[in-house]
């Protein structure tokens, strides 16, 4: 029988191959995707996120856990629709125009995905038009904007303006993150929230969708 406690451990330790093989086994045994995600994957991602916040794990460890989680999730995904698994909400995420930095943004995307959100990761160097189009296409509840540069962070405001001009600002919550941005900057540009790291982003996203 698939040892799901081992899946938890494999994700926390960033062991991709073990995570995949246990998940495969679990699928063959027809264990509910919801159980695997909520009881094991999500908890593992929360644990590594907690270790990161406590300074016991670092970006490399987080990347390895995210990779193990994604490997497992790819196996679970095809089974989700047929079992009627619902997500916590849909998140569109990207690094804004002119900025190619995406490691932190990808970690936030993985953490959200691992914790039960449907995530549409647009990549980096994303224009306001593309954010707007993705929000419409995927009926997103949350848009996450990332920037690492003081020269690009102000573009976040342009994305918010574009959402307003399209009349869809009220439908989505806007979260921002990245080295130079702050809570004060989020208020200044009219975003709904800021988070300092991937773990905090999940907490914020949960709060925003339940608000």
């Amino acid at each position: 029988m698939a040892d799901l406690q081992e899946l938890y451990k494999a994700i926390v330790e960033g062991n991709l191959n073990v995570a995949k093989s246990i998940t495969q086994e679990a699928m063959e045994e027809q264990i509910e995707p919801q159980v695997i995600i909520n009881e094991h994957m999500s908890k593992a991602m929360q644990e590594i996120g907690k270790r990161f916040e406590e300074g016991k794990a670092f970006v490399p460890e987080l990347l390895m856990s995210a990779r193990a989680m994604k490997g497992a999730l790819d196996i679970v995904k095809p089974h989700m629709a047929q079992s009627g698994t619902t997500s916590l909400g849909t998140v569109v995420i990207g690094t804004v125009k002119g900025d190619l930095h995406d490691i932190g943004k990808n970690l936030v995307a993985s953490m959200l995905e691992g914790c039960g959100f449907k995530v549409v990761n647009l990549g980096s160097d994303i224009s306001s038009d593309k954010f707007v189009a993705a929000v419409k296409e995927h009926h997103a509840q949350i848009v996450c904007l990332s920037a690492l540069l003081t020269t690009t962070m102000h573009y976040m405001q342009k994305v918010i303006q574009a959402l307003e001009e399209e009349g869809i600002r009220q439908q989505v919550k806007v979260m921002i993150g990245g080295a130079p941005v702050s809570e004060a900057f989020a208020h200044q540009i009219g975003a709904d929230g800021y988070s300092e790291n991937a773990n905090a982003a999940v907490t914020l996203a949960r709060t925003l969708v339940s608000a």
Binding site: G14, G55, F58, P60, L63, K97, I103, D125, T151
Partner: protein, 418 residues
């Protein structure tokens, strides 16, 4: 005091006649070409296209006349080729996507494609996929990662050593001449000989290689520091061996025409954390950093400059143990990077080359008065008893309001008269 004496006094942790200033001596202490042009205009200097001295970050040359206007004490020695392995001796005039005329290496064509993106090719060879891109609306260049599948059974340290080799006689000659010329200015000479940064993610993608092998994706590299430790050890060991051989020849040929060597720009900090623990630093990097630093200190008069961004308080004891003399850019707005604490705790062991002004909030968004009081405070804290070279936290970026940069420069002038 000459500029050089001033810098050397500060590096020896004694008080110089005034705080020494650097803008433009390295790829991490420079000014974006757009701001260089505005500064030249402001000070009424001759109008001509700014020369790009480092195309990756589009840093402009701080020429002798601008150095004079800003009271700069340091000059650079750069290599004969840039990050894309393109010859820097042949220049041509180009217009940047933001409409500025610049002089840049001939192998770089700044014409945007129809999306507005500018692509750069390793060695200027367009028969291979681009190795870097300046996206539209961006003011500098970033790597295009070209990562083949990493087969751990086949992976060799040599795959990641392709760009590191013995210095050619021509390159050695370039450094000899450049150092001589730099030393003739009477300013402190900061050399970037290259090849010594261990695991710096700016170099990992191999932007100067047409078809890089090994670990070339930044995330894959970070994971390698956990899951491929033997590979990383072997790579660092061999790279350090090559570096010491090259440094031995450079020292014999150049000697004390150079004052400071910028050896490693690997970032160990993020805004709020680190990329690894102190234990991991000690295990994976310290033996190699220490080997090169010990060699430099035993054989040369050079001081060693270490750049690392971010919240690195937990790592600094390791950097001191490894024998670095200088820490840059002293990111004072990162977590726990309090200037008073840093000076008190580490000021006896390290010279702070940076930390003079916060560049994430104060310099781009502050008022001139905020800038003045912030700079005065930083200089008072970090400048006590030497051990401080004034520089911003990293390069001054494009689009920083010129009146803010001028407020910074005016404050430095004010300090000279105190």
């Amino acid at each position: 005091m000459t500029s050089r004496e001033r810098v050397k006094t500060a590096l020896n942790h004694q008080s110089p006649d005034r705080i020494p200033i650097d803008f433009g001596s390295t790829s991490v202490t420079g000014i974006h070409c757009k701001v260089v042009e505005s500064l030249r205009d402001y000070y009424g200097l001759e109008k001509h296209p700014v020369r790009i001295i480092e195309p990756f970050q589009m840093l402009g040359e701080v020429e002798a006349d601008l150095q004079e206007a800003l009271g700069i004490d340091c000059v650079s020695v750069f290599g004969p080729r840039n990050m894309f392995d393109i010859d820097e001796s042949q220049l041509h005039q180009q217009r940047t996507p933001w409409g500025q005329e610049v002089m840049i290496a001939s192998g770089i064509d700044l014409t945007p494609d129809k999306e507005g993106d500018v692509y750069i090719y390793a060695k200027g060879d367009r028969t291979f996929p681009p190795s870097a891109v300046m996206p539209s609306n961006c003011y500098f260049i970033d790597a295009v990662e070209r990562q083949h599948f990493v087969d751990d059974d086949q992976l060799k340290a040599e795959d990641n050593l392709e760009e590191y080799g013995s210095l050619s006689d021509e390159d050695l000659q370039h450094f000899v001449q450049a150092s001589q010329k730099a030393a003739g200015t009477g300013k402190a000479v900061i050399a970037s000989f290259g090849g010594t940064a261990l695991g710096d993610v700016a170099f990992i993608p191999g932007m100067g290689l047409k078809d890089p092998k090994g670990v070339r994706n930044v995330s894959e590299w970070y994971m390698s520091t956990v899951m491929r430790k033997e590979f990383v050890h072997e790579l660092f060991d061999k790279q350090t061996e090559i570096a010491i051989q090259n440094y031995s020849r450079l020292w014999q040929a150049i000697g004390n025409n150079v004052d400071v060597v910028f050896t490693c720009g690997t970032d160990f900090g993020t805004q709020n954390s680190q990329f690894c623990s102190l234990d991991t630093y000690r295990e994976l990097w310290l033996p190699y950093h220490k080997r090169l630093n010990d060699w430099i200190h035993q054989h040369t008069t050079w001081k060693v400059f270490k750049h690392t961004c971010g919240a690195v308080v937990p790592i600094i004891p390791g950097l001191i143990e490894a024998g670095f003399d200088i820490l840059n850019p002293v990111q004072i707005n990162a977590k726990d990077m309090d200037s008073t604490f840093l000076k008190k705790e580490f000021g006896k062991d390290l010279t702070f080359w940076g930390g003079g002004i916060d560049t994430q909030r104060i310099l781009p968004d502050g008022t001139p008065e905020e800038i003045r009081s912030h700079v005065l405070k930083q200089c008072e804290i970090l400048g006590r008893d030497g051990g401080f070279i004034f520089n911003a936290v990293h390069n001054i970026q494009a689009n920083v309001p010129i009146e803010n940069v001028v407020a910074l420069m005016n404050t430095l002038n004010e300090l000279k008269t105190l």
